[in-house]
C-alpha cells in the first residue's frame, strides 16, 4: 500500500501543474482511481499517455499499488467532455 499523498507527489513530479483527481477506491490504499489532466499528454496516444503515468509511478506499481483505474486527458480533451455551462 501507499499513501494517497505519496501517489500525488509522484504524479505531480512528472506532471507539474496537472489537474489530478485521486480516489482510494477501497479505503485500503492499494486500489486507486486517477484522473489526470495534463499538457504532457498532448500529441500522445492513449497507450503513450498511460505509459507516462506508469513510468512516473515506477516501483509503486510493483506491489504497493495493486490496481489503478486510469483516465488521462489533455486540457482540450477534458474541456470538450466537460464544457462550461
Amino acid at each position: 500500500m501507499i499513501e494517497p499523498d505519496a501517489v500525488r507527489t509522484l504524479l505531480l513530479r512528472a506532471f507539474p501543474q496537472a489537474d489530478i483527481d485521486l480516489v482510494d477506491l477501497t479505503g485500503t490504499r492499494d486500489h486507486y482511481q486517477a484522473r489526470i489532466v495534463s499538457e504532457a499528454f498532448r500529441g500522445k496516444s492513449l497507450i503513450e499517455q498511460h505509459q507516462l503515468v506508469y513510468a512516473a509511478l515506477g516501483d509503486a506499481m510493483n506491489g504497493p499499488i495493486h490496481a489503478l483505474a486510469l483516465k488521462t486527458f489533455t486540457p482540450e480533451a477534458w474541456q470538450k467532455l466537460n464544457p462550461n455551462p
Binding site: L46, I47, H50, Q51, Y54, A67, L68, A69, K71
Partner: protein, 103 residues
C-alpha cells in the same frame, strides 16, 4: 531480459491476431478487470487467444518489461499492445475498438 524469454514473449504475442494476457482464463477470470475485457471481446464476437499469466511467472514479469506496461490484462492486436482495461473500455465506448480489432 534473457533472449529466450524475449523470443517466447514475441512469439506468444504474435501467435494470433488478437491475444489477451489476463489473470485467469476467459471462462474463469480471476480479476474484475480481466473479466471486463473478456466481456467486451465476447461482445465483439472476436476470435482471440487468452493467456493466463498467473500460471507463468516468467511471462508475467517479462511482459511488464517488454511492453513497459506494469499491469494486466494486456490486449494485443497484430502483435501490438492496444492497452489495459481502461483503454480497451474507452475504445469500446467510443466505438473505435471495432476498427482496432478488425483492421
Amino acid at each position: 531480459m534473457e533472449d529466450g524469454l524475449r523470443e517466447r514473449i514475441k512469439s506468444t504475442i504474435e501467435s494470433k491476431k488478437v491475444v489477451l494476457f489476463m489473470k485467469g482464463s476467459r471462462n474463469f477470470p480471476q480479476c474484475g478487470f480481466s473479466a471486463h475485457v473478456v466481456g467486451i471481446l465476447k461482445e465483439h464476437a472476436v476470435d482471440f487467444r487468452d493467456v493466463n499469466i498467473l500460471t507463468d511467472p516468467d511471462l508475467r514479469q517479462g511482459l511488464k518489461e517488454y511492453s513497459n506496461w506494469p499491469t494486466f490484462p494486456q490486449l494485443y492486436v497484430d502483435g501490438k499492445l492496444v492497452g489495459g482495461a481502461d483503454i480497451v473500455s474507452s475504445l469500446h465506448e467510443s466505438g473505435e475498438l471495432t476498427g482496432v480489432l478488425g483492421g
